[in-house]
Subunit: 274 residues, 2 copies
């Protein structure tokens, strides 16, 4: 798709259009230019974006692809009538069969998040973020029994970003606790973790990758050396095996993939948050 | 939609199916039960989910709604042939018109995030998370000039979760810095912020809401009192106005909405990360 521009146009944050559009585009070779246009909730605002898209299409000689999530049917109709891009209407395509299935009309309310800031679910998500921050890197043990999951593993294996992602995206109270050389010498889990073993989930990482990551932080240190990384990873995996703690490797996985796996394993029948 | 169950079935993390499906469901009244089934990448795994859905539909007397993002066409065909839910195929619906537009076949690759863990973009996102954590609540001023944005505002107005969301979702290096009573007495921005005013973005909040939030932390304190919250919010807004710092209110906004607005304002022509 050389020189192809892709727009995400929404009357809300455009997060849905962007998340979804990107996963569709990933099925095609090439790297399109991406442009996000949130909060397009009137004909006036739509007109500006349409002009921009039409001019760009003429300049580039190829019509832009436009993923739209526009709830207001009159804005959507205006958009479709005037935009010369390839408009992919992500909302109404699925709303119509659901209206038939539920035998009700949809409410065409703009903004998935409207008033969400006052909902219990949103409150719980923010609380989860605060919890995960307070229990990052073994900082606090107070109230650790409130954790939904405690990620354990060697330093720099991905515990912190995964904990924060679990909290932010899924409202999971995720603490994390490092396994350090002193633990390996003692040959035991940190005593603070022992009563909570059932809620522990391990992360491991390829020693070469770990050494690379640590070298970015502390170049040339013993901490970052491949020999030390091999030692720590070996010991950590042996400890998790001995203690019966499930684990996975973060080496080739994004925090999204790690989190989806952890959720499936710790809460196999969990309903998604709504 | 009483008693209606909704499934998100994907050969990847199911994040796309869930984000998109939820925004569609938000257009309907009622609260369906939601179930996430990630990593369904073979007929065998599909068969298990299909059985689960078919049994549940029979028990509940209403067929479940099933949002699927299945890239593998044979698994998708198997799913459509045997699942008795209302299957909404979110992927191929849009892939076909794009194949026609681009005049290429899509690659039907499973997993938007495959190998992403090694990409520069992913690396930058993780770095942004680390940066935002290190520069939370005015903790570190070292390297602050690397910030894409510095959120300022009174304690508990939403700076920390917004910073982390900007980093995690958008790869933005977002620092945050509190405005405290001492700053208001001096009548000046913290000296550390002065050279970086152009990159500051303010958050404010309704004093009643702020008092409620602070009372959850420190019930009955002067810090949480409505009178003090009014004072701090007034002073903070006056200071931002004086200093020419753009701001918005977090009172009725989610971190997603706040972030989308900040991004639009600080990087109006920014291309989305791909």
């Amino acid at each position: 798709m050389p020189n192809r521009s892709v727009y995400f146009v929404s009357d809300g944050t455009a997060i849905t259009a962007e998340t979804f559009g990107k996963s569709i585009l990933a099925q095609f070779p090439g790297k399109p230019r991406l442009v996000r246009r949130p909060f397009i909730d009137s004909e006036d605002k739509a007109r500006q974006v349409i002009n921009e898209i039409n001019v760009l299409g003429a300049t580039e000689g190829k019509r832009p692809v436009v993923f739209v999530t526009l709830v207001d049917l009159s804005v959507l109709a205006f958009f479709k009538a005037h935009c010369k891009g390839l408009v992919l209407d992500m909302f109404n395509t699925f709303i119509e069969p659901l209206e038939a299935e539920f035998a009700v009309k949809s409410n065409h309310r703009v903004g998935r998040f409207s008033d969400v800031a006052k909902s219990q679910e949103y409150h719980d998500r923010i609380e989860a973020i605060n919890f995960s921050l307070a229990h990052d890197d073994g900082q606090a043990t107070r109230n650790i029994e409130a954790a939904d999951v405690i990620l354990v593993g060697v330093s720099r294996c991905g515990k912190t970003p995964t904990s924060l992602y679990l909290a932010m995206q899924h409202g999971i109270k995720a603490a994390n606790y490092p396994l350090i050389p002193e633990d390996f010498e003692r040959g035991k889990l940190p005593s603070m973790l022992a009563p909570h073993k059932k809620r522990c989930f391990g992360l491991t990482i390829d020693p070469d990758r770990l050494s690379q990551v640590r070298n970015e932080r502390r170049p040339g240190s013993k901490y970052a050396s491949l020999a030390n990384c091999r030692y720590e990873v070996n010991e950590a995996e042996a400890m998790m095996k001995r203690e019966g703690i499930a684990w996975l490797s973060s080496t080739h996985k994004s925090i999204e993939e790690i989190s989806a796996t952890i959720l499936r394993d710790i809460k196999p029948d969990a309903l998604a948050i709504y």
